[in-house]
Symmetry: D2
Subunit: 134 residues, 4 copies
């Protein structure tokens, strides 16, 4: 089937990331990410609108995020949109939309160090063009 569900975000963490582990020991990291947009309202005044995204990372990506990200950090997240259904206290259906990140790039970090690109077990090609013998 021809289908695509792709999200690309650059924004800042509103709080420190939270890392938990599933029963089998897989890391899951959650944090909220703010993206801001400026626009002019009807009276021509500049306004800023902030959007908050629920980010969810898994496995190695979750561990890296937990170790290197912190409140206020600027980060690039690429992944897919996912809506989970759950029941509130009254038993009514509720829905929460999250971004499941498959790739992450830190644009600033806890200690404002150099950016670092990481992906879920994804590797750079082991050789670069210079190595191609044709």
């Amino acid at each position: 089937m021809s289908s695509l569900n792709k999200v690309i975000l650059i924004g800042r963490l509103g709080k420190d990331p939270e890392v938990r582990f599933t029963a089998s020991g897989t890391a899951v990291c959650n944090f909220s990410l703010a993206t801001s947009e400026t626009f002019k309202d009807k009276s021509g005044e500049k306004q800023e609108k902030t959007e908050w995204h629920n980010i969810q990372l898994w496995s190695k990506l979750a561990e890296i995020a937990g170790e290197y990200l912190a409140k206020g950090a600027l980060v690039y997240i690429e992944g897919r949109i996912q809506t989970r259904k759950w029941q509130d206290n009254s038993g009514a259906d509720r829905y929460t939309t999250e971004i499941v990140g498959m790739q992450m790039q830190m644009l600033s970090s806890k200690n404002e160090g150099r950016s670092e690109s990481v992906a879920g077990d994804q590797e750079e090609p082991p050789f670069r063009d210079d190595d191609i013998p044709f």
Copy 2:
């Protein structure tokens, strides 16, 4: 500020699109879009998971969608994620996440005709490379 909120979807409409108009006459179009993903579960069985996205289009894009899209149509949507806060009957805060589409490309249509690309008032460059005199 360095910020990005970008969504790219290809999927099928679950129902015919609904077009409404604001008090000032601006068209707003809403529909749900399905994206599907296959994965293997723990027992190695192939499973399909469908994600439903609430799409919202405005203005000219909304009118085109209302006219040319229908249930089952395959469509490309590019836009941004937006979460709206509202109150349910009990007065409790509720949140709904939508994709506000800024660009749309029909990959199939009501009459299964040729695909067509449209954007919110966005124009192709009025000249192509052949016209550049340098």
Copy 3:
């Protein structure tokens, strides 16, 4: 550094893919991919313009492409732009721009079978939401 180099393509192969191997045995796959766009020229006539992209895949992704893709196949490619410098016969500098694919999704295949998503060693989260114990 805050930097992004991202390409997303959906198109058809102009020829069968070619797979070669580096001295150390890493697979490299090359093929050209056509994307088409329709536009109206100055006289209002509908025109179609085809763009050809040089795709390069590495490692496992290269092997899968070599095995499952063929001329005419529809494919989704995600990666980065890369320009290589080389010398022509006269010793003059020449440049070739390629798309190094990091993710691939077959939208049709040799035998027009079901689509399949693959990425460079990238894994789905080993657990889905249902497994989260919190």
Copy 4:
């Protein structure tokens, strides 16, 4: 036809942008944009590789770029890949690949002022959610 040709770049201008005009007065802006990537070479050393992209903007977007961008500025560009064929002095076919930008967001500017989002005639929805009467 189901086809997609999408490029998303964040990088810095290597030189001031050049703006020219077609015979009919349409502005065309060209500049080169650097994206950088870090990777570890075979010996485990961190290396940085810079990719240079030829950016081409048209019309209003070209005028804004010419006015507000300068060497060293950080910018977000979204558009499509395009390869032009031309003849060198010896009459041989040559190809140049460019990114035709359809959307631009300044992440820094000549005077390091606030970022500003612009698109080719593309408008924000004239009303925001608060205005929706349903």
